[in-house]
């Protein structure tokens, strides 16, 4: 591909996506169907703008790899371990039962037995990209159906490895005998690579990430994130394993690191674009030639496959105790054939098991079955789910609240006091901090601190701003505080904001940004020390405390009084914020009027006399 056609292709993809996806979403079909249709339209059987569908599909599979990495980031080893039962139970049952039944059907309809077995294995797999994207679009991943669906997909990703290993064994006589034996060396290599990923991910990655974060160059951090995923994927591919599985593993290992949210938000745009490209490529690769030649056969195969898989999933979901309301969703979202089928069928053809006609027929069938899923999901959303939702149990109860109620932005000397107080009272907060050195220290004290600039919308979202209740702004930068308050007010209006403030002018600006509580960072400390000064001068502790209380109340009152004039005039606002010194004088004058009770004057005279007396001695 020369430069011109590369840019031209990129232009076509982006244009197709930008036109088709919003249209599809507006019509209620979701983004995935939009991409698929866009692929059909620009592909060889549509306008023919792009011809190299297979190469693109290969490239875009990296979107699936990034998707799995991102999912890994959400799942720390503990949570993954907790999912072992559904993965090994429901996941294994789905693959085995589906493959067995499909094999039976294949043999019954006269296929040779190894063709039937390989076809059945490939068709038993679902599309990770499709299913996860559809669940994600609907925010359904945290539901029981989402969890189970994910478990099944994860098992399938793992099952691909032995399947790929078995296919050459079935390829009778065509391949030379030496390579069809079981390859122990390959197995050892695979184990070594996985061990390398686990050990490296656990011990080496965090210091490296810290070094890179310390450069404070965001693009370098992004570059490293991509490098990490691509490197892991290549390593896995080199030993013949699923790239997606390797990326998933790397993600899981980083799920507990403080860089999780930063990695997530850096990967996000690439993941989205490449997944889109992947769906476009699937759309492009639907071979309408075969479809037109044998429309009934292909449609029958595709619909039969979807129906068969959906029924098996429905039954298994019921056996494994999924709530009845979620069974149709679970069954439909996994009912298609997946991208791994393309890979398996390719290998099967090259091992001489599949004649080319069967490969082509099955690939069209799988691609077509992928086209049905977004449509089935729309039917589920519009027709099936609303009916089932009339049953008493409210769907909200099924959702696990995975986010913390509080986000603390900035965990320096200010934020950590707040964090410690909350922590000591059993409230967990998600903490965002942008100084990597600082994070390392805090981690040693078992704080859950994440690296990143809190003023980035994607990071806030990744930190759970959509579900949190309270944001504590404690960052050490005056303007940043205001920027963050404004950003949050606009994008997460439900979130209550309390903020660290610098001075009176800053308080006014924070109030303008809808902050519901503030504290001037030096006020309480200075007041305490002022109280101490009174005590040192002979004032009783009680009286000093009362004086400090009175001062605070009066100061707050004065501040709010001045704030009432803040809106009177737009120019006035500028004058007021520029004129902090004048205001201080106002405040001090009103101190003289309000704070001088007779008792205080008596005390001032007495202590003055005491100081004078001490001086004269």
């Amino acid at each position: 591909m020369d430069n011109h056609s590369l840019l031209f292709n990129a232009f076509v993809y982006l244009l197709a996506a930008v036109l088709a996806v919003p249209l599809s979403k507006r019509l209620g079909f979701g983004a995935v169907l939009g991409y698929l249709v866009a692929g059909v339209v620009i592909g060889p059987w549509g306008l023919g703008l792009i011809r190299e569908a297979e190469a693109i599909l290969h490239f875009a599979e990296f979107g699936v790899v990034l998707l799995l990495f991102a999912i890994g980031l959400e799942l720390n080893p503990g949570r993954l371990w907790a999912m072992r039962k559904p993965i090994l139970g429901l996941g294994a049952a789905q693959v085995i039962v589906t493959a067995a039944i499909l094999t039976g059907i294949g043999i019954a309809s006269g296929l040779n037995s190894s063709v039937a077995v390989v076809a059945a294995m490939g068709l038993s797999l679902s599309s990770t990209a499709m299913a996860l994207q559809l669940l994600n679009e609907r925010n359904l991943l945290p539901t029981p159906a989402g969890h189970s669906g994910f478990s099944v997909l994860l098992f399938q990703d793992i099952a691909v490895i032995p399947m790929l290993a078995v296919i050459p064994l079935l390829g009778v006589s065509t391949v030379d005998a030496a390579s069809s034996g079981f390859d122990w060396l390959a197995l050892l290599q695979a184990i070594a690579v996985i061990a390398l990923i686990i050990i490296g991910g656990r011990f080496a990655l965090r210091p490296v990430l810290r070094l890179i974060a310390a450069t404070e160059l965001r693009e370098v951090f992004t570059a490293f994130s991509l490098l990490l995923v691509i490197g892991t994927a290549l390593l896995m591919q080199a030993v013949g394993m699923s790239m997606a599985l390797g990326a998933f593993l790397a993600g899981v290992l980083l799920a507990e690191s403080e860089y999780r949210h930063a990695l997530e938000s850096d990967i996000e745009p690439f993941k989205g674009l490449l997944l889109g490209l992947f769906f476009i490529a699937v759309g492009m690769s639907i071979d309408f030639g075969i479809l037109l030649r044998e429309p009934m056969l292909i449609a029958g195969l595709a619909l039969g496959l979807v129906a068969m898989k959906a029924i098996i999933l429905f039954m298994l979901g019921r056996v494994y105790g999924l709530p009845a309301r979620q069974l149709p969703l679970f069954a439909l979202v996994l009912s298609q054939g997946g991208e791994f089928a393309f890979v398996l069928f390719g290998v099967a053809q090259s091992s001489g098991i599949f004649p080319a006609t069967i490969t082509d027929t099955l690939i069209v069938t799988v691609a077509l079955s992928m086209l049905t899923t977004p449509l089935l999901m729309v039917i589920n959303d519009k027709l099936i789910a609303p009916r089932l939702d009339r049953t008493p149990a409210p769907p909200m109860d099924e959702m696990e609240d995975q986010g913390h109620p509080v986000i603390i932005a900035g965990f320096g000397r200010f934020g950590q006091i707040i964090g410690r107080l909350l922590h000591a009272n059993g409230i967990d907060a998600t903490v965002l901090e942008h100084d990597p050195d600082h994070i390392e220290t805090l981690r040693r004290f078992r704080f859950k601190v994440f690296y990143g600039d809190a003023c980035r919308l994607d990071l806030l979202r990744a930190a759970g701003a959509d579900s949190a209740k309270l944001l504590v702004i404690a960052i050490d930068e005056r303007e940043g505080t205001l920027r963050l308050a404004e950003l949050v007010r606009e994008n997460f209006p439900h979130l209550q904001i309390i903020s660290r403030a610098w001075d009176v002018a800053h308080v006014f600006e924070l109030l303008e940004h809808g902050v519901c509580a503030y504290e001037r960072e030096t006020f309480e400390g200075a007041l305490r020390l002022g109280e101490e000064a009174l005590k040192q001068l002979g004032c009783t502790a009680w009286r000093a405390k009362q004086a400090a209380h009175r001062f605070r109340a009066h100061d707050e009152e004065t501040l709010l009084e001045i704030y009432q004039h803040y809106h009177e005039d737009f120019d006035e606002r500028i004058r007021i914020s520029a004129d902090a010194r004048e205001r201080l004088r106002e405040i001090m004058q009103s101190d003289e009027i309000h704070l001088s009770t007779q008792a205080d004057r008596d005390w001032v005279q007495a202590s003055q006399a005491a100081i004078d007396k001490a001086d004269t001695q």
Partner: protein, 189 residues
């Protein structure tokens, strides 16, 4: 404070309910009582610990509120034969010479005062033979005399005994009775 229209409407009353409890969030009876009365239009409900967590009571504000009330209610559990400490501090810093007593100290004259209290022990423990030995009325003498000293009328206290582990229906009935009492209240004269 906007003056209520008592002079014009004749029957309208203004009630200040002061309440304190060291952990109102865990209390059963006092929370039920609070929830029963605080939405009444004639009631101004003030939780002293909520308003003054550091005991810095705003004397001027509280005096203005008291001046305007017809009925003043102190609602609290009994701690060591008295109210929670913040009530005493409230009296020490608000019921001042020249306001509540002494020359010119007539702000509270003629108002009604109600004590709405809960005890941990059952009724029979208050009296000779019980662990608290004295009847509750006698233990409450200091507050009763404070009220008289300020020229207010000490109404018969509303008492609920055995506040820990009361059955839900008894709690609800008591709260309703409390609400009824305040709803039916009309200033004398």
């Amino acid at each position: 404070m906007s003056p209520r229209g008592r002079e014009y409407l004749g029957t309208e009353s203004k009630i200040m309910v002061y309440c304190a409890h060291l952990s109102i969030e865990n209390s059963v009876i006092n929370r039920a009582m609070r929830d029963a009365v605080r939405d009444l239009p004639q009631v101004d409900f003030r939780d002293l610990h909520e308003l003054y967590p550091d005991f810095f009571i705003n004397t001027a504000t509280e005096q203005a509120l008291l001046r305007n009330a017809d009925l003043i209610v102190f609602q609290h559990p009994i701690y060591w034969y008295a109210a929670p400490a913040i009530f005493k501090h409230f009296m020490d810093t608000v019921l001042l010479h020249g306001f509540a007593y002494g020359p010119g100290g007539t702000a509270l004259q003629g108002k009604d005062f109600l004590l709405a209290v809960s005890t941990g022990a059952p009724a029979e423990e208050y009296g000779s033979g019980g662990i608290h030995h004295y009847p509750l009325e006698r233990l409450m003498l200091p507050i009763e005399q404070t009220v008289r000293f300020c020229g207010m009328r000490f109404m018969p206290p509303l008492v609920v005994h055995g506040g820990h582990g009361l059955p839900a229906d008894v709690v609800a009935a008591h709260a309703t009775r409390y609400r009824q009492l305040l709803e039916d209240y009309r200033p004398a004269g």
